[in-house]
């Protein structure tokens, strides 16, 4: 069996690559993020290499005794991972170019809508408006005077004419007119405001 203890040089290299990669990924500029992704990917690929133990002879039967062979599996995995990283890097570069083309910069921006909602919340406003409930509802007593569910007329018995429909206003005592004046708008609106 080949030596399994990892080489210190490789471990330090991985640490540096990953640290620099993470730092760069936290940047705003997409170009720096791309460099970060590449470094991070290389660091992890080295980690994969490390997982197979130290390097031995080429893993080909009849060329190297089985005990001295390198582990070929991590190498195959790294190869796949490198190809994938290459493809993703190419796509990210295209994306950065497109972003620069459209906006003149390659900055990775925050969630704009989220910021808008946070702003509204900070001002204690609703994220949306209820347009059709903005009709001012008068207080319940004056509304009860006005609303007629079935008809706007009353059916009453008038002498020999029998049943006749007359407007409501005709039978209401004149002194008892409902006060349909505008109620205090401000007060009723603050009452309905939902607590946030």
């Amino acid at each position: 069996m080949i030596e399994m203890a990892p080489s210190l040089v490789l471990v330090v290299t991985i640490a540096v690559l990953v640290a620099v990669g993470v730092y760069l990924i936290l940047e705003r500029s997409l170009t720096r993020i791309i460099i970060g992704v590449v470094l991070l990917g290389n660091g992890v690929n080295l980690l994969l290499l490390l997982s197979g133990g130290r390097a031995g002879g080429p893993p080909i039967i009849d060329l190297t005794p089985a005990e001295e062979m390198s582990d070929p599996l991590p190498e195959a995995l790294i190869l796949t991972a490198i190809v994938i990283t290459l493809g993703m890097t190419a796509f990210l570069l295209a994306l950065a170019y497109r972003s620069w083309h459209l906006n003149g910069h390659d900055e990775v921006q925050d969630d704009i809508e989220d910021r808008r909602i946070a702003y509204l919340a900070a001002r204690d406003e609703l994220a949306f408006e209820d347009t059709d409930t903005d009709v001012v509802v008068p207080d319940i007593e004056s509304e009860a005077h006005e609303v007629r569910d079935e008809t706007d007329t009353l059916t009453i018995l008038v002498g020999e004419e029998g049943l006749v429909n007359v407007p409501v206003e005709a039978v209401r005592p004149s002194g008892d007119a409902p006060d349909d004046g505008a109620p205090d708008d401000g007060a009723s609106q603050t009452d309905r405001e939902e607590p946030r």
Partner: protein, 515 residues
């Protein structure tokens, strides 16, 4: 057991279809026919797997190389169910997107690359469900992610580039974490085959095993949009074209959930991180749904409910009981369908109303009563109104929580009920505002093409169908959960003698285990 050859078909066929569709880029019609035929065949294959798979999973050692050396494909009950639901959903979304593309005059969907990319996405998703080793799972993730990068930035408009960048960077980070986890798993156990890893993990230091578990959980948690790793999702999904958002919302997060189920049950059955997962599930539910309540845009609202309902699935997994896992699997199947349907319906709303802002929409119930019905059914299903499948899934999970009986499980039961209620609130708000309020300004929408309404209706009916067949489906998920918890059937299926799978390379056995 003669159907083993069928197992890799759902992953391979779309890849061939993608190549063919790319070669036929000149002809829209040829591409459409290829995609539809391929996805229909995949659906048929998945259905066959679903109906025939027993306790023993279908295992195929690819190329005749025996398991830990070669790559293998494993289709058990869970994988077959996921494959069936996802194929049905992808097929419907494809038809929908075609109708939209044709109606838009191909402006929104560059047809030449849309079909191949979509098929590659389907291949990646199916491959992830079938992967028998961790590295294959990684490759499947990369395949579906690469396709999703293209789809989410489709057309390259300013908004899509902005939100797509965030999505891609986050996905890349999660991939790197996953790859590092694989490297460490290989260093610790000397194998990446999942059945083999499951055999060897008990032999290594429990602390190391837990680190591996947490790393894998971190990688999959980002994919599944689990709190606190969810912030990328509501930002990036809504700007993509409606069918793309629909298929992403339905499938991609569920692939993450599937990977969590697979690794938690097969590799780490001890339940050492269950408490952590329960807390995360609770936070995911509550934070997600509170986010949904605050939204004005209906697509973002649905994205937040998506995050929130991931919490239910994590809840079931974290209980690590038969009932919990059953409920979780059922909920995944239900949620894929209903969430995709809702996003498709919102695509119709956007088309009819010209906007997805709840402030500007209104009166759609009068303009398009059929659309109102199409929205109402999956919306009620999502919020768990009896007797629909959302209700059944939630009841299953809540029962599992009550059966668990710990204070934390009770907290999650309460959290689940509150989340369900708040989902209803958010959805009803969207319903009232989009369909019933008087629109502030007349809506500038186009009439709905029949080709878009048809697949949406089909998915709505499919969602209702899940309710009708809920009994058999629940029995099926119960069996799937039992198979998952009884890891022996999986491990023996892959490695019959505990060392090697069926196939060649017998001479290597003499050398003993690798490395």
């Amino acid at each position: 057991m003669t159907l083993e050859w069928l197992a890799p078909v759902p992953a391979i066929l779309p890849l061939f279809g993608a190549g063919l569709a790319l070669a036929m880029w000149r002809s829209k019609r040829a591409q459409l026919i290829i995609s539809v035929v391929v996805l229909a065949l995949v659906l048929a294959a998945a259905l066959t797997l679903l109906l025939t798979v027993g306790d023993a999973p279908y295992v195929l050692d690819i190329g005749g190389w025996s398991a830990p050396v070669g790559i293998n494909v494993v289709a058990d009950r869970l994988a077959a169910l996921m494959l069936t639901v996802s194929s049905a959903v992808t097929l419907c979304v494809l038809l929908y997107s075609m109708a939209q593309g044709l109606a838009d005059g191909g402006e929104d969907t560059p047809v030449a690359i849309y079909h191949p990319t979509y098929l590659v996405l389907a291949a990646g998703v199916n491959m992830a469900f079938l992967a028998g080793d961790l590295f294959n799972l990684f490759v499947a993730f990369e395949v579906l992610l690469a396709a999703s990068y293209v789809l989410i930035t489709l057309g390259g408009t300013s908004a899509r580039i902005r939100s797509g960048t965030i999505y891609i960077v986050v996905a890349l980070v999660s991939s790197v974490i996953f790859l590092a986890a694989i490297a460490l798993v290989y260093a610790a156990t000397g194998t990446v085959n999942m059945a083999h890893v499951a055999l060897r993990l008990p032999e290594i230091d429990p602390g190391v095993a837990q680190v591996l578990q947490l790393l894998l959980l971190l990688a999959f948690g980002i994919k599944a949009a689990m709190f606190p790793l969810h912030a990328w999702l509501p930002d990036s999904y809504p700007t993509a074209p409606a069918p793309v958002t629909a298929v992403f919302a339905g499938l991609l997060t569920k692939v993450g959930v599937y990977a969590i189920i697979r690794t938690q049950t097969l590799l780490f059955p001890g339940g050492t991180v269950d408490t952590l997962l329960l807390w995360l599930a609770l936070a995911t539910m509550i934070v997600g749904i509170l986010g949904a309540v605050a939204q004005d845009d209906i697509k973002r609202l649905l994205s937040f409910t998506l995050v929130s309902h991931i919490g239910y699935m994590i809840f079931g997994i974290a209980l690590s009981s038969q009932a919990g896992l059953t409920g979780s699997i059922f909920y995944v199947a239900h949620h894929i369908t209903v969430q995709t349907t809702l996003f498709l319906v919102v695509g119709l709303v956007e088309r009819r109303g010209g906007t997805t802002s709840l402030d500007r929409l209104g009166g759609l119930a009068k303009l398009a009563p059929g659309l109102a019905i199409l929205f109402f059914i999956p919306a009620m299903n999502l919020s768990g109104i009896p007797p629909m499948s959302g209700f059944l899934g939630k009841v299953g999970l809540l029962q599992a929580g009550v059966a668990d009986g710990t204070p934390l499980a009770w907290a999650l039961v309460a959290g689940g009920v509150v989340t369900s209620l708040l989902t209803l609130y958010a959805i009803v708000k969207a319903w009232n505002k989009a369909f019933w309020q008087i629109p502030p300004a007349p809506l500038e929408g186009a009439p709905l093409p029949r080709g878009m309404v048809g697949p949406t209706t089909a998915l709505v009916i499919f969602g209702l169908g899940l309710t009708v067949v809920a009994g058999p489906l629940y029995t099926y998920t119960e069996q799937a959960a039992a198979n998952l918890r009884d890891r022996e059937t999986y491990i023996v299926g892959v490695l019959p003698d505990g060392k090697r799978g069926t196939g060649e390379s017998d001479e290597v056995v003499a050398e003993g285990g690798s490395s």
